[in-house]
């Protein structure tokens, strides 16, 4: 599995006209936007510190910056197994957008972008994420379908809501660890 860019015209106009992608026709694409009551600069800075990502991406265990623009990702599947890959930052416009793609031999071949655009009416920032990843199949098929399959959109939706809560309030809502009666 390989990733490559299909468009590369970041230099002109609005950042939203381009995105990295798997080969055209390959992979599944998910997109989601959310409005966060904070400035584009603040949200960009939080996201650009990639170590922050596990704070709102539920399945991401860790992201470590290992070199200039290179990061190592460890993701936990719902079966307590881990998937790992290295990714490269391929576009970095402070306060505006970030793009990344996985390097060759990644467990999950993926590429994505996130844009930070001022919302209308001074209502903060529209954060738009676009991601492409290789479809489930091959030796990781089962794990991937659990991780990304039908629930990919749900994961991204909840992750973005948690990002919003974290940035607006300083915490993401949780009930993990609250008391509950017997389930019999």
């Amino acid at each position: 599995m390989k990733t490559r860019l299909v468009e590369r015209s970041y230099s002109r106009g609005r950042a939203t006209t381009v995105q990295p992608s798997l080969k055209s026709g390959e992979g599944s694409k998910i997109e989601k936007a959310i409005t966060i009551n904070r400035s584009p600069e603040e949200i960009y800075s939080f996201w650009r510190q990639l170590e922050n990502l596990p704070r709102f991406m539920q399945h991401v265990q860790s992201v470590t910056q290992t070199g200039e623009g290179i990061s190592h990702w460890v993701v936990k599947t719902s079966h307590d197994r881990t998937l790992e890959w290295d990714a490269r930052l391929i576009e970095d416009k402070p306060g505006q957008m970030l793009s990344w793609q996985s390097l060759e031999d990644a467990d999950v071949d993926n590429a994505g972008s996130v844009w930070f655009t001022p919302a209308t009416g001074g209502r903060g920032t529209v954060v738009k994420v676009s991601m492409k990843y290789s479809p489930p199949g091959g030796k990781f098929g089962t794990m991937l379908s659990k991780l990304f399959g039908d629930s990919a959109e749900k994961e991204m939706s909840e992750d973005l809501f948690h990002l919003k809560s974290l940035l607006e309030t300083g915490e993401a809502p949780t009930t993990e660890g609250q008391p509950q009666g017997s389930n019999k």
């Binding site: 939706s157 919003k164 009930t175 609250q178 008391p179 509950q180």
Partner: protein
């Protein structure tokens, strides 16, 4: 600790469960001194609300003493006596800043479920469906209160629990229902359902200047309580609409409040059809009262809906509402807007909310309390519980 847990339709049990812990920096732990059973608990008890799980701790009307605070809590300290609103609100999002607290964007840990249902995520609620976050509720000895700086209202010593406990839900809910009617001098307000919310809607309508309140129900002791608040009562029967029309000189009430919601009973053909369909799961809601309120309201009047609805309504007379140019106001209560002003009303002696309490039980007897409240047994109108 002991807590009242949901186990299925008409099955609630007091169980030993672990004590709640601080999970987030803005949390507080409150030792419950008084809690209550709400009419909307009966929707859970009756199995009408999807998204419940066995073992869920119920209860969203509670007050008590702060016994622990998270690292980011600034407005509360150990020992504070507080009433906690049933809606969990962050105070920071677009909606909280518009004082639409019940629509908070940031308090539901499972936002995707409600997003799929309604287009956008709902806020977190205590002791309710997991679609609303599945937060453990307050029919227990202790409760975890998220965003403790935003919701809880400090209560001065000297006012008994029974007078302020209902600031958590039903007094603000009845008040918001009346406020939504935009009551003008000379107005007549009709209130369907003389349960606890209806009783507070009646009192609130008078506090807000209504000249007359018509109270509609078929339970004698509830009608009697409404009369004691100054309402003129109408016994719900096959000719309720005609009675309301006659009582308003053929004009209709200026505002109609549906304080019944999705479990309306009734003897009319539409109510029987709702019941039949609900029994075979063809519909979730039985909106007989809402239909009647729309029908009875005067032209250009307001229908205000504090009663809870869940699903898509069958035979909803939208054409009637359109033809009469009605205003329809609804939704969960933005409790935080009302707690402080209503506490002042209590302190000033304008109202003593404990009038609605008919049963005082120990938490251990909560299952009997649910049954009595559901069956209106022993003239039950409102149950408060002491842990």
């Amino acid at each position: 600790m002991r807590a009242l847990c949901w186990h299925g339709r008409e099955d609630v049990r007091v169980e030993k469960v672990p004590d709640p812990k601080i999970l987030n920096p803005h949390d507080a732990i409150v030792r419950i001194t008084t809690t209550a059973i709400c009419g909307s608990n009966l929707h859970l008890y009756g199995g009408f609300v999807p998204g419940m799980e066995k073992g869920d701790i119920l209860g969203h009307e509670f007050m008590g003493e702060v016994v622990e605070i998270g690292s980011a809590v600034k407005n509360l300290k150990k020992g504070d006596r507080v009433v906690v609103p049933f809606t969990i609100s962050c105070g920071q999002c677009f909606f909280c800043q518009k004082k639409l607290w019940a629509l908070c964007d940031n308090t539901n840990p499972n936002p995707h479920e409600s997003e799929m249902e309604t287009g956008y995520p709902s806020s977190g609620l205590y002791g309710y469906s997991h679609t609303n976050g599945g937060y453990a509720g307050g029919q227990a000895e202790y409760v975890r209160v998220p965003f403790a700086d935003v919701g809880p209202l400090k209560i001065p010593d000297g006012i008994p629990d029974d007078q302020v406990i209902f600031l958590s839900d039903i007094f603000p809910t009845g008040y918001q229902a009346a406020e939504n009617c935009n009551i003008q001098p000379g107005d007549t307000v009709a209130v369907w359902g003389c349960g606890p919310v209806g009783q507070f809607a009646i009192k609130s309508a008078f506090l807000l200047g209504a000249e007359r309140v018509l109270a509609i129900d078929d339970v004698p002791e509830r009608l009697e309580m409404a009369r004691q608040s100054g309402a003129q009562t109408i016994t719900a029967n096959g000719h309720t609409f005609e009675d309301i029309k006659e009582a308003t000189g053929g004009m209709g009430p200026d505002s109609c409040i549906d304080a019944v919601g999705l479990e309306a009973h009734g003897s009319t053909a539409d109510a029987k059809m709702d019941k039949a369909k609900a029994s075979v799961k063809l519909t979730t809601d039985r909106p007989h009262v809402l239909r009647q309120a729309i029908h009875a309201c005067r032209k250009g009047g307001t229908v205000s809906v504090p009663g809870v609805y869940m699903g898509a309504l069958d035979k909803f007379p939208f054409g009637t509402a359109f033809g009469k140019g009605l205003n329809i106001r609804m939704g969960q209560t933005h409790v935080q807007n009302y707690m402080r002003p209503l506490l002042k009303r209590i302190e000033d002696g304008d109202i003593d909310p404990s009038f609605v309490i008919t049963h005082r039980l120990n938490l251990n007897d909560a299952p009997e309390g649910y049954r009595a409240f559901r069956d209106k047994h022993d003239k039950c109108i409102k149950v408060v519980l002491k842990p």
